[in-house]
């Protein structure tokens, strides 16, 4: 009996026509003139194709409701052909020889060229290959197809996954999609199984033909047998992983269908396609199967109708018959599906985020500043942090972004007046000290993350918390000068919050100050932080009453590489030290130098005013006082942030984290 090749085609891919439809309605029926269904049908009498049939010869039902066939046309619509070739290795072979890559490519190229020579200029072709991965060698393209660029082969077999990918291809209106696959039918790594593939094939718009490569199966079995028995190899000599082995047919003659094969064959035939295995001495080939399919296609019919009396969405079962002759074999698509749900609109980024969802959406869209601003105004940061913890990682492929967002969320928390909110913010940061660790060891992001957190915590003047994080950072990056500086600043903050800031402090306070001094001294040899360490050390020594040492340290400060704040503080502190040394004129010069760097900063102005007054220059002092009174409370003064350590650099550090998290 000749092989019956079924034609089909739900050529109008209704999913693609959604844009032309009114809004979704579950009970909506079809509208005449807008939703056209086309069904390819082949009619045979025995081995012969039946031609010359018209609309009145066919009866077509859609979900059991007879439909009016508007036209019957020769199937001249362009074809989208997906060829699937199996290049996977022999899963049972103990030993695999080196295979010449160029030969594999040439063989595939030759076979594909044979197929493309049959196609018409209006047809298109794409090529998928089965191996460890689903490979799309080329996407859909006009014939003749481009040369094969690169192909992987001899690996595990993702048969079901590749066939599923081929079958789920969307079909354009007025084109038909044909899938011709040639495989050994031995799946070893697919994510889906034969049952799932059957479900897809039954709902696919593609005409699906499957060719079983019995010759290749035979060759694989013979090679395995030879290597095992003759050479005595009892295991794979390389690549020994075999996640599973699911066969469509048995491994040797007569290559009987196994349960997975039955499932796939049933799906292939339900979809109007064909299952091709050797019969006698006739072995099906990719080209031969396509040629046969193509010829059948050209001689088939395309029925066109507009569904009436049926609910639009959901699955539609189609039945086509030619009542006048019971001897005809009619093959057509068994149905089609319509998805009526409109795609969800992309969420818009809120101008002022309020909920966690708002914040993550805005942050993911790069609206960092609006997120940071809104977070500082949020009434209940604790709840937001709790939601963040409960809802999990919003960006699983971008863990750096999540780690950055955690700092943003924690920022209002660490400055909160409520102890429990502060504690929760610290717990959040603490959790991320684990989550930011990279599998192989500390990396540049982790370093920057810690730096950003340390600059933030310095701003809170909460030395115990700062010390915990500084120690953790140093455990990961033991020689990082910025982290050593953070620890020194924590000790300095602790000394002043403990009341040791006054000159002639108690013995234990002196000990604490001495500890801080040693930490700053150790940093002087580290260029990245030496200047700041010197400025802070000088101020510490001044507090300890060691004014000459303080002045010496300030004189050593290399001005140029310093940021504005440090340059200002250097002059301001010089002025204070000069005053303590009884050099008011020099102090005045220093204050003026500080004022030149930050004209709006109040501390230098006040010091200058006091100095002038002390020297009897009342008029000069009054002039300065007037300037001070005109200043706004928002004007920045580096002195005001001195005890907040490197918090002044938090914005810069956070900007870098945001950039790294993109």
């Amino acid at each position: 009996m000749a092989r019956v090749i079924a034609g089909f085609g739900l050529v109008a891919s209704l999913t693609l026509l959604q844009g032309q439809r009114p809004p979704a309605n579950p009970q909506q029926t079809f509208r005449a003139g807008t939703d056209v269904v086309m069904v390819d049908v082949s009619v045979k009498s025995g081995d012969h194709v039946v031609t010359g049939l018209g609309p009145e010869d066919f009866v077509l039902t859609d979900n059991g409701v007879r439909q009016r066939i508007e036209s019957v046309e020769a199937t001249a619509v362009p074809m989208d052909l997906t060829l699937v070739i199996d290049l996977s290795g022999n899963p049972d072979r103990p030993w695999s020889r080196r295979i010449d890559r160029s030969k594999v490519v040439a063989d595939v190229q030759r076979e594909v060229q044979e197929v493309t020579s049959i196609l018409r200029p209006t047809d298109r072709i794409r090529l998928l290959a089965i191996d460890q991965y689903v490979q799309q060698i080329w996407p859909l393209q006009p014939v003749p197809a481009t040369p094969i660029p690169r192909v992987e082969f001899d690996g595990l077999a993702s048969v079901f996954d590749t066939l599923a990918a081929a079958l789920m291809h969307p079909v354009e209106p007025a084109r038909r999609h044909v899938v011709i696959a040639r495989t050994k039918g031995v799946d070893t790594i697919s994510a889906i199984d034969a049952r799932a593939l059957r479900g897809i094939a039954e709902r696919s718009d593609a005409l699906f033909h499957l060719v079983i490569m019995e010759n290749a199966l035979g060759a694989d079995a013979a090679l395995s047998e030879f290597q095992s028995n003759l050479i005595g190899l009892v295991e794979a000599t390389n690549r020994s992983w075999l996640p599973h082995q699911r066969r469509l047919v048995s491994s040797g003659p007569p290559y009987q269908l196994l349960s997975d094969g039955m499932a796939v064959r049933s799906a292939v035939e339900t979809a109007g396609g064909g299952w091709h295995q050797a019969r006698g001495f006739s072995v099906p080939s990719l080209t031969g199967t396509f040629r046969e399919t193509f010829e059948s296609f050209r001689q088939g019919y395309m029925l066109r109708y507009t569904p009436q009396g049926v609910t639009r969405s959901g699955w539609h079962t189609i039945a086509v018959t030619v009542p006048r002759s019971r001897g005809y074999t009619v093959r057509a698509r068994r149905g089609y599906g319509i998805e009526d749900s409109a795609p969800a609109p992309a969420p818009t980024v809120p101008a002022v985020p309020k909920t966690l969802a708002d914040f993550t959406l805005a942050y993911g869209a790069g609206a960092f500043q609006s997120v940071a601003t809104a977070l500082r105004q949020i009434a209940d940061p604790q709840r937001l942090m709790r939601d963040f913890e409960e809802e999990g990682n919003p960006w699983p492929s971008a863990p750096r972004r999540e780690a950055g967002f955690a700092i943003e969320l924690a920022e209002p928390g660490v400055f909160s007046r409520r102890a429990e909110t502060r504690d929760q913010a610290l717990r959040l940061l603490n959790r991320f000290t684990r989550l930011i660790r990279q599998p192989l060891g500390p990396d540049v992001f982790e370093r920057q993350w810690y730096y950003t957190v340390l600059t933030l915590l310095q701003g809170t003047i909460n030395p115990p918390a700062l010390e915990v994080f500084a120690d953790r950072a140093l455990a990961r990056f033991p020689d990082e000068p910025r982290f050593l500086l953070a620890r020194a600043i924590a000790a300095d903050q602790r000394s002043t919050t403990a009341g040791a800031s006054r000159v002639a402090a108690t013995g234990s306070s002196q000990t604490a100050l001495e500890t801080v001094r040693l930490q700053y001294e150790a940093l002087i040899g580290m260029p990245d932080v030496a200047a700041e360490a010197r400025v802070r050390l000088a101020w510490l020594m001044h507090r300890m009453g060691r004014h000459d040492d303080a002045l010496a340290r300030l004189d050593e400060v290399d001005v140029e590489p310093l940021d504005g704040s440090l340059r200002y503080l250097r002059h301001l502190f010089s002025g204070h030290v000069m005053n303590a040394l009884g050099r008011p004129d020099d102090a005045t010069v220093a204050y003026r130098a500080a004022r030149a760097i930050a004209p709006d900063a109040q501390s230098a102005q006040v010091a200058l005013m006091n100095g002038l007054l002390a020297r009897g220059d009342r008029a000069g002092a009054e002039t300065v006082a007037e300037v001070i009174q005109r200043q706004r409370s928002t004007d920045f003064d580096p002195w005001w942030m001195y005890w907040q350590g490197q918090y002044r650099l938090y914005g810069q550090a956070m900007a870098r984290i945001r950039e790294m998290g993109r």
Binding site: R98, G199, G232, L233, R434
Partner: protein, 358 residues
């Protein structure tokens, strides 16, 4: 027996006749070492890809490398050792998918004999160079991690932990030839949790109880606890202990943000849920997995297949279209599951090369 040996001999002779002349034209090992040491990494790797006789390469290395290591004086000796050991890794990697080990039964006697092929011997040769230093140099940790990546990519556990059939049919008799690479690495880096995890991965397919023990030992480790939990969950799935599996997958999510681990935990969880007819939850997990690793084919196909069968074709099309459009052979953690640390190869070899350039 003689007939069989004759056949083997002919195979070997035939291979030599084909490969010999081509190999003879290739650069010598000393030349390759010089070039590799001078920073010409990619050209040397390309050259290695054309080599067919790695036995010869290994012999050359053993014969000529000692003099080469000393040729630049003691000051350059350590660097040259790293060059040679890293070159050996590159060579092993170039050949490992063609040959690794032969396990041959001997006719007439019920014994099985193991013959290592060049790639594991190359790694071991490099490892000996590294092990000559006590205590281990910091760069050795990176070299051993890279060696582990190469060994895991080979899919063979025998090299790492010994005969996988010990106590069973097919057990090898030449145990003196076992390498058990991980044993001596563990001695040198007892605190390195990745090597403990590797013990579990190597035993996963053969000695599940031992694998479970190894995973449990590092289940709370800050660096590998997430991956250990995920792999433990996968073992539970194998035995259909779905509840325990899900607990481990959820646990993995709390321990790490490594997208590779998150992807696999979610993908496996999706499979469990789908298997138990909890399709909507499975969809969420597959979606989550695809979000964690957008080029992961296993989760993408699983997601699209479920969507398609549920009539949500547009979303399925979108998923598949994106997957196919991705770069050819985009990395899928499931398809590389046993290759484990091979995913770090670019970082590891980059670190070693940077050290060589110094």
């Amino acid at each position: 027996m003689q007939f069989r040996r004759l056949c083997c001999l002919w195979l070997v002779v035939g291979a030599c006749l084909v490969a010999g002349p081509a190999a003879a034209r290739r650069a010598t090992v000393v030349d390759l070492l010089d070039r590799y040491g001078s920073g010409q990494f990619d050209p040397v790797v390309a050259e290695l890809a054309r080599v067919t006789d790695f036995d010869d390469l290994l012999q050359q290395l053993k014969r000529e490398a000692p003099a080469w290591l000393d040729a630049n004086g003691p000051a350059d000796r350590d660097r040259r050792e790293l060059v040679a050991a890293t070159f050996a890794l590159e060579a092993a990697r170039a050949d490992e998918w063609y040959e690794w080990v032969w396990i041959q039964s001997q006719p007439g006697v019920a014994v099985t004999v193991m013959y290592w092929k060049p790639p594991p011997l190359l790694i071991e040769w490099g490892c000996q160079l590294m092990r000559a230093h006590e205590p281990p140099r910091p760069i050795e940790r990176w070299w051993q991690l890279a060696a582990l990546a190469v060994a895991q990519r080979s899919e063979d556990s025998r090299f790492l932990v010994g005969d996988v059939r010990i106590g069973r049919a097919g057990e090898i008799i030449n145990v003196q030839d076992e390498i058990k690479h991980l044993d001596h690495v563990m001695k040198r880096f007892p605190a390195e949790s990745r090597f403990v995890l590797a013990q579990g991965i190597a035993r996963d397919r053969y000695w599940e109880d031992d694998a479970r023990t190894a995973y449990a030992a590092v289940a709370n480790d800050v660096d590998v606890g997430g991956e250990a939990s995920m792999r433990l969950g996968a073992l539970h799935v194998k035995h259909e202990r779905f509840g325990e599996a899900i607990l481990q997958f959820d646990r993995a999510e709390t321990l790490t943000r490594d997208p590779y681990v998150i992807y696999l935990a979610r993908y496996f969880k999706g499979r469990v849920l789908e298997e138990n007819s909890r399709s909507d939850e499975a969809l969420d997990e597959y979606r989550g997995a695809a979000a964690a690793w957008p080029t992961g084919q296993a989760a993408t196909v699983s997601l699209a297949a479920l969507l398609f069968r549920n009539g949500r074709r547009a979303e399925a099309h979108e998923q598949i279209g994106r997957m196919l459009a991705a770069a050819p052979n985009a990395f899928d953690p499931w398809r590389e599951y046993v290759h484990a640390d091979n995913r770090f190869w670019p970082q590891l070899i980059g670190r070693l090369r940077a050290e060589i350039r110094r």
